[in-house]
Subunit: 156 residues, 6 copies
């Protein structure tokens, strides 16, 4: 048999229902997530992602913002600069996700990483992910820096 | 500068705050997630995962249950059998995640997939993921079926 | 030493020679494979793949059709809708294979998957393959749906 | 609707039906495939794979032998030593497929690659796949060489 | 024709020959590399890797130490804590490289990352690499922490 | 604490300092590396890579040339044709690194591989890496061959 999963209308809000005994409740803070996203992403990145995603998959953008930026990002231990270093490493290792890498390069600059440091991330990783993937990531880095310079030019 | 992300004490619960204009609110139903997990996972699988994970990463098990089983799994369009087919394909394609694959093979049987169908998933995928990864997945399938048979034996 | 593998002129056709004792003979039905491909692929997809592939690698298109569509696809247990769900999951997990994903999105619609279901495949998989790869797949989905709409427009 | 794919009883054998106009017929020679496998694999490797695979997925071993060793391996241009170099590179790049890598290391020795050359394959690839995957492959290489030495010891 | 690459006896040491016009000379400092490795790796990790690797691939351990720890690690911009965050992210994303991940978890503790932060690395990455790979990495983290505790016990 | 890695000004050149007892010294020959690169890469490939890379990451191109072409490529056992077969297999297996694959296809022709053999590399690998990645690689092969033909045309 195959049970259809009709969306359960949440009679109890996520943060109201307690998790089973022995499990710590996870933070899932929609408002904090959207605030953090505004801090991390510049307008071009935000506009290049959420609206188009909402059109094709309604509710998925809010899931991403609440579960990630309002969830895992809200946990203690790592600051935003640390988290962006991790994101850059992971996206460069995955490969083939250039638009996401572009957005995270822009966000990395916003949380205090310098252009030099962003370049060094992929030079450092070259012996770990292989030079082909490192070169692919550096191509995206160079293109993103150039786009930012042209943006600044246009803003003058 | 690097902004420390001290966990925001959620003054407003996730489902209370409204997403920004233009975004549909995502379902994040903790109670429904834990109910669904109980339906999907047998006791051995559940006990092999959540408690140990809670010990090392408090709050992460509840995040997984609420965001996945209480979140993406609650969306309409696909039933649980469809979702398990997708999970099996993805885990076999990723490779190197045998414990997760084992758990999802067990869950697949619970939502109506037959042993033959689970085997055919990886025979079908062989030309898409390559025979080496297909053979690796089938090795896990065979081991899981054997463990289930021994479990049944013991239960007699 | 290195043994050259000059192509063996098949004195005995594939399905005539019996496999060694203990092995079940595999179905490798060229005619059935080409019939199934005609059912699965629309003209644009077919014309975008086989002829160009034949020019650069003569015999490889027929190998794909006979071994896959006339081979693994002919095995019992899974229907074509199941197989397309598996293909979508695998291509989204692999990443970097957009033309193949585009073709399989078109084929998925032909075997009964709805546009909504194809979108939900990648929303469901997001927590398993990671949001970057899920967003990359959804970008291909959106582009494919738009191309189909323009095709329909043109056909009017 | 979902079309069930009941296995088509091949009224016409694979090599009898002609491919559509414009496509070259692929070689799919079952007998040649099984002969080649006997040449490539030593008894331990063969016995570690096919029988167990036949038990769980009847017909899949014969599909592998006929489509690969009786198919793609029968094409001209590359000799068996070339093909084993490619297999070693691919299995080391994929990672997480140690049993397959072990079998192909054994086969590589049978087609004329030396132990030193097999080691150098992964030293050469280290900067391309990253040192972590290269070290993982070399661990399998060392274990396989040791197993072969113990085998020889026992054979004395 | 195939040009054999007989190892060139370096008439000029690496750092003596100047790179072509327009290229900056890379730092490749063997002594600094071995010093840094002593700082990064504890004895168990070092002994688990280099000697065995030297036996099977003479010269490869020194290549790794000089090119990585004496090369890319010597470049400015990122400190050792940053580099370990990148290494953890990459190894968790690659998957299937548990011994390397174990060594880098131990090194991460030596450069100032806390156990909590190492755990948070993989909780943070879960939505980017997928929960299956995050759970696989956390399993290695838990095993490494336990081994370190037992090591401390034994040392008492 | 986080130790800053200020670039160690190499008081002793790489090939002067001896590795620790028990480790064989690796060849790292800058001059040989740049000579080999000139042999392997045609002008278009070289100009498409190193200068742009030097601009964004000064010193990284020389690191690649000295550590790879002056390092791992200088080890005995495999000739350049063997090494290119390995490179093609690895790049096709990684996927998503088209510019690197393009360069290595051009280099493969320079060390004696024929166009037919380069095509067969990916036909052979199809059952190992999956047909989607094989088709993606063959698309790059076809585009590279066409670019070479147009180059020859223009040179007339």
């Amino acid at each position: 048999m195959t049970t259809p999963t009709t969306p359960t209308t949440p009679t109890t809000p996520a943060t109201a229902a307690a998790p089973p005994a022995g499990l710590t409740e996870a933070v899932l803070d929609r408002a904090a997530g959207h605030r953090l996203l505004d801090e991390l992403q510049d307008r071009p990145t935000r506009e290049a992602t959420l609206p188009g995603l909402e059109r094709i998959a309604p509710g998925f953008p809010d899931w991403i913002v609440t579960s990630l930026f309002g969830g895992t990002y809200q946990r203690p231990g790592l600051d935003l600069r640390d988290r962006q270093l991790l994101n850059l490493a992971t996206l460069g290792t995955l490969g083939g996700v250039d638009p996401q890498l572009t957005g995270h390069i822009r966000s990395s600059l916003r949380v205090g990483l310098t252009r030099e440091q962003i370049v060094e991330v992929f030079v450092h990783l070259a012996p770990y992910i292989g030079t082909p993937k490192a070169l692919a990531a550096l191509r995206v880095v160079a293109a993103t820096f150039q786009a930012l310079d042209e943006q600044d030019e246009a803003a003058r």
